[in-house]
Symmetry: C2
């Protein structure tokens, strides 16, 4: 008799993160993840192509959030304000996923292959943001600069947010990091 | 009778670049590179661990140039000025290697694995620059921001320089790109 398995995907993600953290990403098999989640391997493969995808399946959606937020910024805004609005838009979306984000980051930090994959994700995000800025009419150099600064600010704010124990939200760290960017660029530190 | 082979390393680099460009990086063997250079495979391996190293053997020296230039900047300079001085220092060193830089970039642009390796090189450079700025007393956030901006400006200036047909030098593109960075950050475009 098969029981209905609610939230299969969520359970797989939770089981995978827990195993990755306790025994390492490389040492964990799909069979173990499925077993821990009380599901079959077949069910796992219905949601993910492989165990790495548990950590990166959201990459496209993640990038899309930046682009959607950027596309909503009025045309007359400057490139840097558009990039900032885009990062702030994503911050709001990530806010409620802090527990997942924190655990995921801890797993990625431990594994060279995953760190490289995460770097690729960020490089791809920077290219997508630059292209979206160019579509708004920003010239290529300004688009590349604003996009890279947006991604750098995001990374810095994200790092602070997952390390933070005082309950600040990601959007606050984003605002703070953009202010620092302006102050650094102006030569004030 | 063995003839003395002058400039073996340089000849290997030239042969490798020429083959990578004409037949592709993946399709080129070390045997072909050695043959084209009029040298043995054994000689090749005295200089390079593998064919990829022909393109990346200088990575450490490259990074070291940034750090040396940065360490020479007076302590009272701001983080962004230190980063700019570092990038300008490297520009001077690269100036006479434009032909190599241009050919190397064309090879890298064609191959996903090489592009990834180049991205890693830039990420490693950004970390090294941030660490060097922190050693000067810059706080971590400002150090990360200034380092990432330095690397982004370098990439942008480098891209312009190898595409340029009018004979501008890299240092000029670096200055121009830093000026754009300031203008983008200040919201002027």
């Amino acid at each position: 008799m098969t029981r209905w398995k609610p939230n299969a995907k969520e359970r797989l993600v939770r089981a995978a993160l827990s195993l990755f953290r306790s025994q390492g990403f490389a040492q964990t098999t799909v069979a173990e993840i499925a077993e821990r989640a009380g599901l079959t391997e077949r069910t796992f493969f219905r949601y993910f192509a492989d165990k790495r995808e548990v950590l990166f399946a959201g990459a496209e959606e993640f990038e899309q959030h930046f682009i959607t937020a950027l596309d909503a910024v009025p045309r007359q805004s400057s490139a840097i304000d558009a990039a900032a609005a885009s990062v702030e838009g994503v911050a709001i979306f990530l806010e409620e996923r802090r527990d997942f984000a924190r655990k995921r980051s801890a797993v990625i930090a431990e594994n060279a292959e995953l760190r490289e994959r995460e770097r690729d994700k960020m490089a791809s995000l920077a290219s997508a943001l630059a292209a979206a800025l160019e579509r708004r009419g920003t010239d290529r150099a300004a688009a590349v600069l604003a996009a890279e600064m947006g991604v750098t600010v995001f990374r810095l704010a994200f790092e602070r947010w997952i390390d933070d124990k005082s309950g600040h939200n990601l959007a606050q760290f984003v605002k703070e990091s953009f202010a620092e960017l302006k102050s650094v660029t102006a030569g004030r530190c």
